[in-house]
C-alpha cells in the first residue's frame, strides 16, 4: 500500500465517525470548520447552525496500549446566533467560518470563533468541584435567615461530576463590512488578525471596541473591483509578518513594521500563467481558497481549485512544489462553473513535521501528499466503507480511456459530497476530515505491529446536541 509518512510503510486506518448516521442531514449540522488545538488534545468543529462542538482525546487505556485514544465530545455550545441586519434587510448567517485556538496558558482553553461579521472569544473551563456548606444559603440555594444562624462553618470543596462550561469572554463586533473569511492568532499571543473580502483588521485580544485596519483593498470606485482577499494568516514565529491571498491567485506577504497600513506588500508571490492552458476559467481556478504557513515558518502552502502549491518564502516568482489534486476536472470546468462547484473553497493543512500535506476533493475524497517521497494517496471518507480500525483503501479516479477495476470514473463522482475542511493533528498522525456533516477522524497505524491488534467494537457516535 502506498505509504504517506516516511520511514515505515504506513497505512491509514479509519478511527471514528462523529455525526448523524442518517442520510438526511440537517443543513444546520453541516460542519463548516475543523481545528485541532496546539496540543492536539482538543478538536473543535463549527457548523452552519452556529454551534461549536469540542472533542477531547481520551487518554489511552493502560490495558490496551496499542489502542489509540478516541475523541469524545467534551463541550457543545451555541457560539453564534442568526442575526438580521435591519438597515440592509439582510440576514447574517450564524455559520461558523473559522475557529482558531489560543495557546493554552492556564487550566482553561480559549478559542476564537467567527461568523461572517462577529468574532467571539470563548473560554472553555472545567468544573469538577463545588463548594458545599455555605453559611448564608442552603444547599438548594435558598437564602437563610441570618438571625437563625448560630454557628459559622467554612465551606468545603466537594468533587462533582465534571462539567465543562463555555462562556463568551470577548465579542469583537462591527468591524467588518464584508464577510469574514479568516482569523489568525499572532505568535505574540496578544493580537490576532481578521480578514474579510476587502480588509484585514488587527485586534488585541483584550480590546473589543477597537481594531486597526492593516490592509484595505477596497477601490474608491466599487466598479473597479476585480480582486478580493480570500484568506490571511499570521506567520507562526514572526509576529510582524502575515500573508493574504487573493482571488487572482496572488499572495502578498506584509510586514507590519513597515507601515501602519500594509497596502504595499513586502513580497508578492505569483506564478506566471501557463499560456497553453489559458481559458475563460483560468482566473477562477487560480483563485486561492486557503493559505497556510508551514510549522517551520519557512514555507507556505496555497490551495487553488485544482492544485496545492508549496512556496518558499524566499522565492516569489514560482512555487517550489505543485501537487495536482484533481486534474481530471480540468476538462469539466464549464460544468463545474454552471453548478457553482468551481467556487468551492477547499482548505489544506500541513502535518506536524511539515513532511506531508492534505487537502479535500469531491466524492468525499481527500488527498495526502508526501513531500519527501512525492507519493500521494487518495482516500475516501464515506460511512459505507468505513469500519473502525479498517484500513482505508486508496481510491483512484480513472482519467480516461478504459476504467480499471476499482477505479471511479469522473462522471460518477458525486460533486455534492465535498471535503472542504480538514485538519491534521499537530503532533500525531491523526487527521480530521469533515464530510458533509460527519466529522471523520482517521488514525495512522503502523502496519508492522498490525498482528498484535485487536479490533475494538464499532464506535459510531450519534451526538445529542445539548446546550450548556
Amino acid at each position: 500500500m502506498a505509504g504517506v509518512a516516511g520511514g515505515n510503510d504506513f497505512q491509514w486506518c479509519f478511527s471514528q465517525v462523529k455525526g448523524a448516521i442518517d442520510e438526511d442531514v440537517a443543513e444546520a449540522d453541516i460542519i463548516s470548520t475543523v481545528e485541532f488545538n496546539y496540543s492536539g488534545e482538543l478538536l473543535a468543529t463549527g457548523d452552519k447552525g452556529g454551534r461549536v462542538v469540542i472533542f477531547q482525546h481520551e487518554q489511552e487505556s493502560k490495558n490496551r496500549p496499542h489502542l489509540r485514544g478516541e475523541y469524545n465530545v467534551y463541550s457543545t455550545f451555541q457560539s453564534h446566533e442568526p442575526e438580521f441586519d435591519y438597515l440592509k434587510s439582510l440576514e447574517i448567517e450564524e455559520k461558523i467560518n473559522k475557529i482558531r485556538w489560543l495557546p493554552q496558558q492556564n487550566a482553561a482553553h480559549f478559542l476564537l470563533s467567527t461568523n461572517d461579521k462577529t468574532i467571539k472569544l470563548w473560554k472553555i473551563s472545567e468544573r469538577d468541584k463545588r463548594a458545599e456548606g455555605y453559611n448564608l444559603k442552603d444547599e438548594d440555594g435558598r437564602l437563610r435567615d441570618p438571625f437563625r444562624i448560630t454557628s459559622l462553618r467554612v465551606p468545603v470543596l466537594m468533587p462533582m461530576d465534571l462539567m465543562v462550561e463555555a462562556s463568551p469572554r470577548r465579542i469583537f463586533a462591527n468591524a467588518h463590512t464584508y464577510h469574514i473569511n479568516s482569523i489568525s492568532v499572532n505568535s505574540d499571543h496578544e493580537t490576532y488578525l481578521s480578514a474579510d473580502d476587502l480588509r484585514i483588521n488587527l485586534w488585541h485580544l483584550e480590546i473589543t471596541d477597537r481594531s486597526f485596519n492593516i490592509v484595505d483593498i477596497k477601490p474608491a470606485n466599487m466598479e473597479e473591483l476585480t480582486e478580493v482577499i480570500t484568506a490571511a494568516e499570521c506567520h507562526p514565529h514572526q509576529c510582524n509578518v502575515f500573508v493574504y491571498s487573493s482571488s487572482k491567485g496572488t499572495i502578498r506577504l506584509c510586514d507590519m513594521r513597515a507601515a501602519a497600513l500594509c497596502d504595499r506588500h513586502s513580497k508578492f508571490f505569483e506564478e506566471p500563467e501557463d499560456p497553453s492552458s489559458r481559458s475563460f476559467f483560468s482566473e477562477i481556478i487560480s483563485s486561492i481558497s486557503d493559505v497556510k504557513f508551514s510549522h517551520s515558518g519557512r514555507y507556505m502552502m496555497t490551495r487553488d481549485y485544482l492544485s496545492v502549491k508549496v512556496w518558499d518564502l524566499n522565492m516569489e516568482n514560482r512555487p517550489v512544489e505543485t501537487y495536482q489534486v484533481h486534474e481530471y476536472l480540468r476538462s469539466k470546468l464549464c460544468s463545474l462553473y454552471e453548478n457553482d462547484c468551481i467556487f468551492d473553497k477547499f482548505e489544506c493543512c500541513w502535518n506536524g513535521s511539515d513532511s506531508a500535506i492534505m487537502t479535500g476533493s469531491y466524492n468525499n475524497f481527500f488527498r495526502m501528499f508526501d513531500r519527501n517521497t512525492r507519493r500521494d494517496i487518495t482516500l475516501e471518507a464515506s460511512r459505507e466503507s468505513s469500519k473502525p480500525r479498517a484500513t482505508l483503501k486508496p481510491r483512484k479516479v480513472s482519467t480516461g480511456g478504459k476504467r480499471k477495476k476499482d477505479e471511479i470514473s469522473v462522471d460518477s463522482l458525486d460533486f455534492n459530497k465535498k471535503i472542504l475542511h480538514t485538519a491534521w493533528h499537530p503532533k500525531d498522525n491523526v487527521i480530521a476530515v469533515a464530510a458533509t456533516n460527519n466529522l471523520e477522524s482517521a488514525a495512522l497505524i503502523p502496519t508492522s505491529i498490525s498482528d498484535s491488534y485487536k479490533l475494538c467494537p464499532p464506535m459510531f457516535y450519534k451526538p445529542h446536541v445539548h446546550y450548556l
Binding site: Y86, L87, K88, S89, L90, E91, I92, E93, D116, T177, Y178, H179, D197, L198, N221, M222, E223, L225, T226, E227, V228, T230, S247, P275, S276, S277, R278, S279, F280, F281, E283, I284, S287, S331, K332, L333, C334, S335, Y337, E338, N339, D340, F343, D411, S412, L413, D414, F415
Partner: protein
C-alpha cells in the same frame, strides 16, 4: 450529476474549443475564432450563464462577493474578447436593426428588479431571460414614461425593498456597484437607498438607450466610450437629475454592453434562448402583464405591511 442546463456538448467540447481557441497569434486567430461557431456559441452561453449568475443573488443573505467578482471578471474577459473579435459590433448592429425606435433598453429594468421576490415567484418580469425581447421594452416604458408610472414604479419598488437585498438594485457594470457600495452605507435609511437606486436604473435606461442606438454607428471599441443620446428622451425630471448629479456615467459603459448582449438572442443562435429559458422561468411578459406585475407588487407590499 451535472444539472441540466447548458447542453453538455457545448459545455465540455466547447471547453476545449475555448482553450484551443485562445492559443495562436492574435489576428488570424480572431478570424479563426469567428469562423468557429461552436467556440462562439460556447462563449456566448458562458456569457449568458455568467450574467444570470450575477443577477440571481440570494435575497436574504448578502451575496458572496468573491464569487460575484470572479463571475464579473469572466464576463469582462468575454466581452473584451468579443470586442476584439468584432463579434460585439455585429451583435450591436443586429440589435439596432431589430429594435424599433421607441424602444428603450430592457436590461435596466431587469437589473432594477432582479431579486424582486415577485420575480422569483414568476410574477414580475423575469430578470434578463425574460425581458430580452420586445415585451421588455414595454415594461421599460412602464417604468420610465410619465410621472405617474414612474411614481408607481418607485413607490412600488420601495416598499418591497425590505424584502430585497441591497444587491437587487444594480446600476453599475454587471450591477455590482451599488450592491457593493450599499454595504458601506450604514447610516442611510433603507428606503432612501432603494429609491435612489431605482431612480438610477431609470436614468441608466435613458442613457443606455441612447447608447444602443448610437452603437450601431460606432465601432466596437467606441461602445465603451461615452454616448450621446440621439433618441428623444422624456424631459428630465429635475428631482431625478439632482439625484443623478453625482452618478458616474462610466457606470453605463459596460452595462450597456451587457444590455446589447441581452438582445442578441434576436439575431444570434436560438440556442441562446433555449439556454436562457432553461436557466430560469421564462414567461415572456407583455406590457399588460407588467402592469399586472405592478399590481402584484402592490399586493406583496400589502402583505409585507400587513405582516
Amino acid at each position: 450529476m451535472f444539472p441540466k442546463g447548458t447542453k453538455r456538448k457545448f459545455s465540455d467540447s466547447g471547453e476545449e474549443a475555448v482553450s484551443s481557441g485562445d492559443q495562436g497569434p492574435a489576428a488570424p486567430s480572431a478570424a479563426a475564432r469567428m469562423l468557429s461557431s461552436s467556440y462562439s456559441l460556447q462563449r456566448q452561453s458562458l456569457l449568458d450563464m455568467s450574467l444570470i449568475k450575477l443577477q440571481l443573488c440570494h435575497m436574504l443573505v448578502e451575496p458572496n462577493l468573491c464569487r460575484s467578482v470572479l463571475i464579473a471578471n469572466t464576463v469582462r474577459q468575454i466581452q473584451e474578447e468579443m470586442t476584439q473579435d468584432g463579434t460585439w459590433q455585429i451583435m450591436t448592429q443586429a440589435l439596432a436593426a431589430a429594435q424599433c425606435p421607441t424602444d428603450r433598453l430592457v436590461a435596466t429594468e431587469v437589473l432594477c428588479r432582479q431579486t424582486d421576490p415577485a420575480a422569483q415567484a414568476g410574477q414580475s418580469p423575469k430578470p434578463y431571460a425574460v425581458v430580452g425581447v420586445e415585451e421588455g421594452y414595454h415594461s421599460e416604458e412602464v417604468v420610465m414614461e410619465g410621472d405617474v408610472e414612474t411614481d408607481v414604479t418607485m413607490s412600488t419598488l420601495s416598499p418591497v425593498s425590505p424584502q430585497l437585498s441591497s444587491a437587487s438594485y444594480l446600476a453599475g457594470p454587471f450591477g455590482m456597484g451599488p450592491c457593493w457600495e450599499e454595504e458601506e452605507e450604514d447610516g442611510e435609511c433603507e428606503e432612501e437607498e432603494e429609491e435612489e437606486d431605482s431612480e438610477e436604473c431609470v436614468s441608466e435606461g435613458e442613457e443606455g438607450d441612447g447608447d444602443h442606438l448610437s452603437a450601431d454607428s460606432r465601432t466596437g471599441e467606441q461602445v465603451f466610450g461615452t454616448f450621446e443620446i440621439k433618441h428623444p428622451a422624456p424631459p428630465p425630471d429635475p428631482a431625478l437629475e439632482e439625484l443623478f448629479s453625482d452618478v458616474d456615467p462610466s457606470y453605463y459603459d459596460l452595462d450597456t454592453v451587457l444590455t446589447g448582449m441581452q438582445s442578441a438572442p434576436k439575431m444570434g443562435p436560438y440556442d441562446l434562448l433555449d439556454s436562457l429559458s432553461s436557466h430560469g422561468p421564462t414567461a415572456l411578459s407583455s406590457s399588460s402583464s407588467c402592469r399586472s406585475d405592478l399590481n402584484e407588487l402592490d399586493h406583496i407590499m400589502e402583505i409585507i405591511v400587513g405582516s
